[in-house]
C-alpha cells in the first residue's frame, strides 16, 4: 500500500516537476540537458557502459550522456514505467527483446526507421538480421540491438585437465554433457561423487559438474534442438507447448540433471552460492549461460576457462540473447539521443563495448574482428558465439512475456529441485500461463 502510494506520488511529483521545467525550457536544447541512458547490470557491465560513454564524450565534445543505473531488470522496468507515466522518461534505455514487448505494445518506444534511413553512419545490413528482427514491432524497427549473444557452456579448463576429463567440443550431444558433468562432479578428495546423495547423508560435492538455471530461456534451445516448440505460434503465441513429446523429453532431461544425476547444485546450494560465483570460485566445472558472464569471468586469475557450444540433440539451435538501445517516444532530446545511438552502434562503439567482453557485437564485421576474437583475452574460443548465430532463434516478444518467465521459473525450479511430477509441471505451466498469453499483445 505504502509502496504504491510512494511510487504514484513520485510519479505525481515527477510530472509536476516536469510541467515546471517544461514551461521554462521550451524545446530543442540539445547541448543543455545530458542524454539520459537507463541500464542495469553487474558492476563489470556498468563499467563497460561507462567506458563507452567516456569514449563518446571524448570523441564528440559537447555531447553529454548520463548513465542511470537500475539495480536489476525488475527495477529497470519499474523505473521506466513510472518515469514514462510521470512524463519524464529517460531518453534511451537498454533492454532485452524478451522484455521490451510491453513497452513496444504501449507506444512508449520511438520507431527508428526514418532516422536509420537518413543516417550516414548506420547501415542495417551491417548487423545480424536475427537481432534486428527481434526488435521489429508491427513492421517498424523500434530498437537497435547492441549485441547478438547466445547460450554457451563456460567451462573450467584447469579442472578438466586436473581430472583428466575430455573438454567439451563442438557437436557434442546431450548425453556427452551428462557424462561429462557426471565425471566432473567431485568430492573434496577429488573423487567422482553422485550429487543426489548429498541430501541426507554421505559427502557433499566440492565441485559440481554443471550449472544451469531451470528457466524457459535455458530450456527453449534444448526443446528446439529436439525438434519441439516452446509456444504454439511464435508470432502470436497463445500457450506453452511443453506437452509435445520432444519438449517433454527435453524438459525431463533438464530436470534429471538434478533429480537423476545430481550434477547440478541443489537449491540450497544455489541459494548459498549462485552459479556464477560458484564458477568464479572454481567449484563449478561447467556453466550454461550467455556472453554476459564474460566480463565477470575475466576477473578470474586462479584457473583457465573457455567456452563450448551448447550440446545438440538433433540439430544445433541456439537461443537469442540480445539487448538493444531504445529511444522513448517521450524523450525531449531525441536528436542528441540518436547521435549517441549511432555512435554506440557504429563500428567504433561496437569495438569499444566488445573489448570489455560484455557483448557479442551485433555489427557483423566487428564481431569477426580481433576486438571480439582477441586470442589474448579469454575465452579463447569466442568463435563459438559466432558459429551459433546462424542457428539462433528468438523467443516470443508478447507483452506479458516477463510475467510468463517469472511464472515458469517458479514452477520449473520446483520441478528441478523438488522433483514435482512432470505431467503436473507441464499442466500447471500451461494452465497458469494461458491467461497471461491471453492478456498479451504482439507486434
Amino acid at each position: 500500500m505504502t509502496i504504491v502510494r510512494i511510487r504514484s506520488l513520485s510519479a505525481l511529483a515527477l510530472s509536476t516537476m516536469l510541467a515546471l521545467t517544461g514551461c521554462g525550457s521550451g524545446g530543442g536544447l540539445s547541448s543543455g540537458d545530458p542524454v539520459k541512458l537507463l541500464v542495469f547490470g553487474a558492476p563489470e557491465e556498468l563499467g563497460a557502459y561507462r567506458t563507452l560513454i567516456e569514449a563518446y564524450q571524448q570523441a564528440r565534445s559537447g555531447e553529454r550522456i548520463q548513465l542511470i543505473e537500475a539495480s536489476d531488470r525488475k527495477d529497470l522496468l519499474a523505473r521506466l514505467a513510472t518515469s514514462v507515466a510521470g512524463g519524464a522518461p529517460p531518453d534511451l534505455f537498454l533492454m532485452n527483446y524478451r522484455f521490451y514487448g510491453q513497452f513496444a505494445a504501449k507506444g512508449v518506444v520511438e520507431p527508428l526507421d526514418e532516422r536509420i534511413a537518413g543516417s550516414s553512419v548506420l547501415d542495417p545490413a551491417d548487423y545480424y538480421p536475427v537481432a534486428m528482427e527481434a526488435f521489429r514491432w508491427d513492421d517498424a524497427q523500434l530498437c537497435l540491438p547492441q549485441n547478438v549473444s547466445s547460450l554457451a557452456v563456460y567451462y573450467n579448463r584447469t579442472l578438466f585437465t586436473e581430472y583428466g576429463v575430455p573438454e567439451p567440443t563442438a557437436g557434442w550431444t546431450w548425453n556427452d554433457l551428462v557424462t561429462t558433468a557426471t565425471l566432473m562432479t567431485r568430492d573434496d578428495r577429488g573423487l567422482v561423487i553422485k550429487g543426489t546423495e548429498a541430501e541426507g547423508a554421505a559427502r557433499l560435492p566440492a565441485v559440481h559438474g554443471l550449472g544451469v538455471e531451470p528457466s524457459i530461456i535455458r530450456l527453449a534451445p534444448l526443446v528446439w534442438s529436439k525438434g519441439g516448440e516452446i509456444v504454439d505460434n511464435p508470432e502470436r503465441p497463445t500457450r506453452l507447448t511443453l506437452d509435445s513429446p520432444a519438449a517433454r523429453d527435453a524438459l525431463r532431461n533438464l530436470i534429471d540433471l538434478r533429480q537423476a544425476y545430481g550434477v547440478v547444485p541443489s537449491d540450497a546450494e544455489v541459494e548459498a552460492e549462485d552459479d556464477e560465483s560458484r564458477f568464479l570460485n572454481g567449484r563449478l566445472a561447467m556453466l550454461m549461460t550467455s556472453r554476459r558472464a564474460t566480463t565477470n569471468f575475466r576477473t578470474i586469475t586462479g584457473f583457465e576457462w573457455d567456452v563450448a557450444p551448447l550440446p545438440v540433440y538433433r540439430q544445433p539451435v541456439g537461443v537469442l540473447h540480445s539487448d538493444a538501445y531504445c529511444m522513448t517516444r517521450g524523450s525531449r532530446n531525441k536528436d542528441a539521443a540518436w547521435r549517441f545511438m549511432e555512435y554506440a552502434m557504429s563500428e567504433e562503439g561496437q569495438r569499444i563495448i566488445a573489448a570489455t567482453g560484455r557483448t557479442v557485437p551485433s555489427h557483423m564485421e566487428v564481431s569477426r574482428s580481433p576486438a571480439f576474437l582477441d586470442p589474448d583475452q579469454p575465452p579463447r574460443n569466442s568463435q563459438v558465439f559466432l558459429d551459433a548465430i546462424p542457428t539462433v532463434r528468438a523467443l516470443p516478444t508478447v507483452s506479458t512475456w516477463p510475467e510468463i518467465e517469472d511464472l515458469s521459473y517458479g514452477i520449473l525450479e520446483n520441478a528441478m529441485h523438488r522433483g514435482d511430477k512432470l505431467d503436473d509441471v507441464i499442466r500447471e505451466l500451461d494452465a497458469k500461463s494461458r491467461p497471461m498469453f491471453a492478456r498479451g499483445e504482439n507486434g
Partner: protein, 318 residues
Amino acid sequence: MSASGAAPGRRAARPVRSPDTRARRQLALMLTPYLIGLVGLVLVPALVTLGMSVTDYDLLRPPTWAGLDNFAALLDDPIFRVALLNSVVFALVAVPLRVLLALGLALLLHRRAAGVGTARTATLLPTAVPEIAYGLLWLWLFNPLYGPINQLLRVGGENGLTVLGRTPPQWLTDPTSARAGIILMSLFTMGETFVVLLAARRALPRDVYEMAAIEDATGWDVFRRITLPLMAPVLALLAVRDAVASLHFTFVPAFVVTDGGPPPYATTYLSLFVYQTGFEYLRYGYAAAATLVMMLLTVAAVLVQWRLIRRYRRFYQV
C-alpha cells in the same frame, strides 16, 4: 463549541476575540501541516487507488474503464489467493508472537539491574537498522550452507546435519522454513512495541505489586491477575497497530530475502503481489484493486480488534 454560537452579538461588540476562538485558531494552525500531509499523502493516493481499481491502467496508456472486472479477476487469480492467505497467516502468527515477545522482554527488562540497559539497547537495535540492510543481513544469516544460523545448528553434527541427525532448516528453499524465516525476521523488529510496553509496565503503580507480594501472590498470579489485565489495553492497541503494519512489513523481507519464493509463491504476500503486479507487470488497475482489498482487510482487522477491546474495556472504568 457552544461559546461561539451563544455570543455572536457580544463578539461583534468586542474586537478582541474570545480566548476560545483563539485557541481553536491555533489548533487549526498547528494541525494544518499534518492535514496537508494527510490529504496529500494518504487521502488523495487512496482515492486515486480507488479510481484506478476500476480501470485497466498500465501507466503508459490512458486508463480504460473496467468496472469490477479487476475484482472479479482477483477472485480467480491463484497467485492473489495465495498472497492473501500468506498475508493472513503471517498476521495471525507473527502479530501475537511479536507482541508476546515484546511483552516478555518488557517484563524482563523493566527493572533496574546490571546489564539491563545494554539488553534494552540490543532489543531496540534491529528496529533502527534500515529495512533493506536488515533484509540483506538476514539473507546472509539464512544462507543454507554458509549462514551463521545453520552453521550453528550444525555444530556437533556430521555431514551437514544437526546433532539430532536432521537436516537444518532450508531457510530460503523450503516453503515452510521460508515462511518461518520471514516471521523470525519480523520478530526482531518489535523494538517499538517493546518500548511502548516497557513504558506501560513502568507506569504501573509499584504499590499494587507490593500489595501482591504481601498477599504472597506467585509470579504467575501477579502476571495473570495484575500485569496482564492492567496492560491489556496497551497490548490490544499494539496488536491492532501491528496487524495493520504486518501487511506492510512483509514487503521488504519478501522482496529482498526470498523474492516471494521459494516457488511458487511461498512468501508472496499482498504487498509483494501489489508491487509485482504494478511495477513489474505494469498492471496498475489490477494492483490498485488488490491494494483496496488490502485496505479492506486492514479495516476489518481494526474493527474486529476494536470490538474486542471495547468488550474488554467495559471492565475497567479507571
